[in-house]
Point group: C3
Chain length 156, copies 3
């Protein structure tokens, strides 16, 4: 199924490719593997939530941040491979969650990211994952997501 | 040497493959590379230690948690490749250590994981590594380990 | 352009390959991909800065730590591939920044690392990147950098 049709079905819009804050690229292809730079839950460059889980940001808000982070990762990957239908499979997701003392539900938060990948890509969306609770994320973001995908050989 | 014989020699038992808490898989193979999802120091789903290094958990306990995390990673990888003897080499380990203020001995903790990989795999077990001190890990785990291995080409 | 000439032009000296603190290797090659173990801002084994960004260490000092971390990663990679000119491209950098409560400028800190890679490698130095704020790093380091590069096929 076409990924863009699936995005529309889910009522989602792919954002513009994120603009790197500095001297790096938003996604890098090396052979058949594409690494998306860490993305946060921004819409048009504005963080939709700020602060830490377990204190400032609810799990539902964290999941929404995780979903937005994935959309930004996909926009970044699209800017490199041109067509998201060329993704052969999602490989790995690392989710960093800004966590207040004692917060241990990182997996519930990052589930927002994983669920979206499965909803979009079906079986091809199955991925290895880590959920890590960290002290602080750029500009007060509650969630940052890194993504590795494999593209079809021969896709440019 | 057979990995299962080596596990037995070391008095270790491979756990059942971990059950993912959510919408992801415990390990993902992409080409010859297998990424294990982040694992913690559980035995039959129960964390054996909880809390932070430098406050609640001793370095010895942290090393034991790191070892258990590696066993869970290997069980996860086995569930995907079938036979751990098909591992051509361990590639990279990232060890996250829940760290109280001022705790800087993450390498000593993650040494529990690295040592076990060398004990099990010998020269093939040599790996790149990072040891990172983080705020919180899922469900209060003191240690989380991610593992990347390469399997023999042609192994299914 | 020769990387060693470029290092000299920039007034930089490649350190000796870092010595692993424990049972791992400073860099691991798997196929064409080389993973450098996490490195900190040491010179001859001594950390040049200690503590957290946003409290003990300025952004300028953090950037310098990030640069030194990259030089240590490159020395680690050189110890495995022999000649840094065999690097076909830098692929991915993950920068961990020890962050005091409320510090959100991890990208500005890790920019020190990214900038150096571009200065050294030009277009081949473009990389995906994540900047993560963490609780503590080994031995009080303010910055730790992980690097993935791809080497030219056939380079030994």
């Amino acid at each position: 199924m076409d990924i863009y049709a699936r995005l529309q079905e889910l009522g989602l819009e792919l954002p513009k490719a994120p603009v790197p804050v500095a001297s790096y690229v938003v996604a890098k292809r090396s052979g058949d593997v594409v690494y998306a730079s860490g993305q946060t839950g921004t819409v048009q460059g504005q963080l939709q939530h700020k602060g830490k889980l377990g204190r400032d940001v609810s799990i539902l808000e964290g999941q929404e941040s995780a979903r937005l982070s994935v959309l930004n990762c996909l926009a970044a990957i699209e800017s490199v491979i041109g067509d998201l239908n060329n993704i052969a499979e999602v490989v790995r997701l690392t989710g960093f969650v800004a966590s207040a003392e004692g917060f241990g539900e990182q997996p519930a938060v990052i589930e927002g990211a994983s669920r979206l990948l499965l909803d979009l890509f079906g079986e091809k969306g199955q991925h290895a994952r880590s959920a890590i609770g960290v002290a602080e994320l750029p500009f007060g973001a509650p969630v940052e997501v890194e993504l590795i995908v494999r593209v079809d050989e021969g896709a440019n």
